[in-house]
């Protein structure tokens, strides 16, 4: 089967050619079909090379050095920060804080902003479709400070229940934190509208963009979020670096989170003065090479075009959902293709997701099986686990078809 050339929105041959891992065979003659990008994306050679080149020619510690390498490294690292700001539609790179990952970005807000601003009894609204990273930091806070948590419900077809959202907003939340796109259901939430409503209700808004920034054109300035978090490793970038965007006035008022080198202006034995933004929140040697890699990932994604990537994934998820319908005994979770990104979680009535994933793996097809760090939404649907296929710019319609064929093989084995 070939891609209908009328449907092709990106040069898939070119794109695939940039990802070295895609030429790997899982066993002789069995090529890798990587359908686990929601867990982490593969990396194009541009990103791998940018980091190698950095280590081979510029490597130095940043910010305080006068020698050539230190100056070059500082410029490389800080220009990555500028790229991030531009990529998500933010004017000033002072508002871009580098963290280890999206999880740490959310924890930073929970530790610094929330502990300085929330008190016992204050309400935080989350949703039932959150990743553990946007649940557990708030549970820890709730235990420690007695803030209350409430969860927007999810409908049977995997959308946020907007009635439930409106009702909860009526209870005067101080913070509303929700995912831009669910990593289990694939649901893309109406974040701009939700942000507006939350602001009208007087709340600060944090958005978990870990699944959105890699896959959709995202303009955080336009959305109007107060905090926005994501990870490089899901967007063609390296592990070890994530991003927190924060509204400047909030960041200015927040106390520092971690203490150490780089986040200070001055230290005496008994006291310290915090540094300016964004360094105030970056303690110790930052992920420098990882910043360089993230910058290269953004250049790469931009060269392909986020719109094209999004369209390409729409095409794949559309095909996937269509073809899943024909497989007997499969149930798919989440909304229809027009409300979702390139993620399909499904289950068989009588075959465990682990077995599905394992058999697919023996055919070179990498999917994920488990709770995908979203146990509450699994519990909601009465499931301990699902099998999840997730797409990215390098996946093809043929790969979707191979997955479907693989599912028939699974059924055969268990028949």
């Amino acid at each position: 089967m070939h891609i209908d050339p009328d449907l092709a929105v990106l040069d898939i041959e070119y794109v695939r050619g940039q990802f070295p891992v895609l030429s790997r065979e899982i066993k002789p003659g069995v090529p890798l079909i990587y359908l686990d990008s929601a867990a982490t994306s593969q990396k194009p050679r541009q990103v791998i090379e940018a980091m190698s080149t950095y280590y081979e020619s510029q490597n130095a510690n940043v910010h305080r050095g006068i020698h050539r390498l230190a100056e070059e490294a500082t410029v490389s690292f800080e220009s990555a920060r500028e790229k991030v700001a531009q990529f998500i539609g933010i004017e000033s790179a002072r508002q871009i804080i580098f963290t280890r990952n999206a999880t740490e970005a959310i924890n930073l807000v929970a530790h610094s902003w929330a502990r300085a601003n929330l008190k016992k009894g204050d309400l935080i609204i989350l949703t039932e479709m959150e990743h553990h990273s946007n649940i557990v930091p708030w549970q820890i806070l709730a235990q420690e400070r007695g803030v209350r948590l409430a969860f927007v419900s999810v409908t049977e077809d995997g959308l946020l229940d907007l009635n439930s959202f409106h009702d909860l907003l009526g209870e005067k939340p101080r913070l509303v934190a929700f995912t831009h796109m669910s990593n289990m259901l694939g649901t893309v939430n109406p974040v701009k509208e939700m942000t507006r409503l939350s602001h009208d209700a007087g709340a600060v808004v944090l958005i978990d963009g870990a699944q959105a920034v890699p896959h959709l054109p995202v303009n955080v300035g336009d959305i109007g979020a107060d905090f926005y978090a994501f990870s490089a490793h899901k967007m063609c970038g390296p592990t070890g670096i994530g991003v927190l965007y924060g509204r400047e006035d909030l960041l200015e008022e927040m106390p520092p989170f971690l203490g150490g080198g780089d986040m200070i202006k001055r230290v005496q034995l008994e006291s310290f003065t915090a540094n300016d933004l964004p360094y105030k929140f970056e303690a110790g040697t930052p992920p420098i090479a990882e910043g360089v890699g993230l910058g290269a990932a953004i250049d790469f994604l931009t060269s392909i075009g986020m719109d094209a990537i999004h369209q390409h994934e729409k095409l794949l998820i559309g095909r996937m959902l269509d073809r899943l319908e024909e497989v007997p005994g499969v149930r798919v979770y989440g909304p229809s293709a027009d409300h979702k990104g390139g993620v399909a979680s499904f289950s068989f009535v009588d075959i465990h997701p682990h077995d599905v994933a394992q058999i697919l793996d023996s055919h070179g097809i990498a999917v994920r099986a488990g709770h995908h760090c979203a146990m509450p939404i699994h519990e909601k649907f009465g499931l301990p686990a699902t099998t999840r296929a997730s797409f990215y710019l390098y996946n093809t319609v043929e790969e979707v078809d191979s997955l479907i064929e693989g599912l028939y093989k699974v059924k055969e084995i268990f028949s």
Binding site: H352, H354, H371, L383, A385, K409, I413
Partner: protein
Amino acid sequence: MDDLYREQIIDRYKYPVMKGTLEPNDFSYEDDNPLCGDRIRIDVRVDDDEIVTEAAFNGTGCAISQASADLLMESIVGKNLNEVKGLTKEDILEMLGIQLGPVRLKCALLSLKVLKASVYGLDELEEELAQI
């Protein structure tokens, strides 16, 4: 057929021979693997010499966890408790006859963990479990 899913495993999964519950029993324990929801309960009866006379498991989960529970229950009947306590990861893998990655290993070993939890006293247990 896929290597991992040797006929025996699928067969045991579909037609377990040791599935059920024993009431009353001498030892009984239940636990799960939150990662995938696999859940196993194990019931054991022993005679005065601490020889296992009957064993049964109940539960839900993937083929590997269920088949290994079935194989394990079958293997302990006639063994004394010290022999049961001496069972290792390798014994389970040998029964299954396959190689497993780190995640699937947890599926395969769930029944062994539950079995040990049932036959050990609680102090001994922690120490022993750390070694599985």
